[in-house]
Point group: C2
């Protein structure tokens, strides 16, 4: 039986921090990423790919705002769905092209995905996730007034130091997991839950309603991996290993560790809240829920890490 791996790709897999995000730049990054994915396919892994969407959603939010006197801006759930189409297309086109050149005919597609969160998530009380453009204090306060945005100063001393912040609630369920499962069974490669999924909450009548929020894509990736009984959850970021005692003389990269060790390090505060923290949290959750192993490593070490030669590997 081929092993099923869910791969969570960081922002750098699609757009480098120094880039503006032209289509050429993005397709070039995606091609580099797909080179690793194609090697995983050759190693015999079945794959589901999930990805961040911060820069793409950010650009769409800027475009919406610049044109808001001409055409109505769409809310964040809709913007999220747009980036799922956009990034999904780039990956499925690029992957298909790799396989076509090798004479392989593999079904590949993107599944537009909603992810269920809870209405009473504490993050709705005190939103934490900055999104979209930077504003001056005046602009920020005007948006607060006009659109009821929650705004915070996130980059003190800069000319434009304010941003809108939105809730980042915990993900609980992948609404379309049955569709993803059907495609896994059809031996497809699937791109799903892009940008952490479109956040929806359940109303009292059972209907799902889109929210102005952003779900952490690594946490949503874990929920996805659990929902399809994946064997491995592979989180790709810009460093080869998670590290403890970061910036101290006894700083140490983590190799193969148990889920108990990972939990201890997490509790001790070794990992940054907005960065390595949620990745380690998601990796722990996957193994505790019965997954064989979680891996955190860099994009270029993905294949090595699957062979056990690199990365931070969390096992039972």
């Amino acid at each position: 039986m081929k092993k099923l791996v869910v791969i969570a790709l960081g922002g750098n897999a699609i757009k480098q921090a120094h880039e503006k995000g032209t289509v050429e730049e993005q397709f070039a990054n995606v091609a580099e990423t797909c080179d690793q994915l194609v090697q995983m396919n050759a190693m015999g892994y079945k794959m589901i790919i999930t990805h961040g969407n911060g820069p793409q959603a950010g650009n769409l939010l800027i475009q919406q705002e610049e044109a808001n006197t001409l055409v109505p801006a769409q809310p964040m759930d809709v913007v999220g769905s747009m980036t799922q189409g956009q990034i999904g297309y780039m990956f499925q086109n690029t992957l298909q092209n790799y396989f076509m050149q090798k004479g392989k005919n593999i079904p590949i597609t993107t599944v537009v995905t909603q992810v269920l969160v809870k209405e009473d998530d504490p993050d709705f009380e005190d939103p934490s996730k900055p999104v979209g453009p930077f504003y001056t204090k005046d602009e920020a306060l005007r948006l607060k007034e006009e659109k009821s945005y929650v705004v915070k100063e996130v980059k003190p001393n800069a000319e434009k130091s304010w941003r809108r912040v939105v809730p980042s609630p915990e993900p609980f369920e992948i609404v379309e997991s049955n569709c993803v499962q059907a495609l896994v069974e059809a031996r497809a490669i699937i791109i799903a839950s892009g940008g952490g999924g479109i956040p929806v909450m359940k109303n009292k009548d059972g209907t799902l309603e889109g929210l102005e929020a952003v779900i952490d894509k690594d946490k949503a990736g874990n929920v996805l991996a659990q929902s399809v009984n994946a064997d491995i959850y592979l989180i790709l970021t810009d460093v080869e290993n998670a590290r403890i005692n970061y910036g101290k003389p006894d700083e140490k990269p983590l190799g193969k560790i148990t889920v108990q060790e990972a939990e201890k390090y997490l509790e001790e505060g070794h990992f940054l809240a907005g960065s390595m923290g949620p990745k380690v949290t998601a990796a722990i959750r996957f193994v505790k829920a019965g997954g064989k192993k979680s891996i955190i490593t860099s994009l270029s070490n993905a294949v090595n890490a699957l062979e056990g030669k690199s990365g931070t590997i969390i096992v039972k």
Copy 2:
């Protein structure tokens, strides 16, 4: 065996002509459309939904242009993929909510879809499809110079009478048809080939490359319907019937006709080129390729037409 119907939805299923396209307007239209779709499900039909994206792509093109000094505008293939995510999300969310309230658990999702066209399609020589905002002559000629756009005067005597025109090549193949098929077999309702699909051509090395073009969604819907061996191809628009001798004393709505009759009327020029023409063409192609019947009718008559009580029905 349940019959499989591919349903092509016109622009009015998502955004009415007089509306600006706010999220509330669009969800309200989608809800009205889904009311018909839910009835079809109750009648026992398996369904694949495809849809236009003109107003949504148009709004995105305006937003991209307004913000083009701040963030890079994306090309039309990418914009098309964004609208597939956007419109797909609205349909799958709304459909899921209808079924949830009836206690039905039906897998529903959107498949991001590329559609193959031929590089030597004559429309690449003389593009015919207007897209995006209207321009003054000066603006249009500047865009022609700067971006190599093909521009045409489309609304003489208006202040802004020019638009960009892009090719509208013939669709030949649904790249992701195997994924759509797998989801049909899993008894899912699928939204696919939105906006006529993302147009791609095959390069000499076999790779697929996105194009600045727009595929007619009714023609692409036929290719989709053929690729999954659908029984019925249902094209929903804003009129109950196709008509012959339009505007003349002997004007007549068409009911049940043979594919030969339909071809004769098409050749005689009874149908408008940019409007009913491609719908009748797509409907004819489906039946000639072995489909049981094609139907052209209005959204509110969809259920009636499936029961043979309304619409223009083309059979062998």
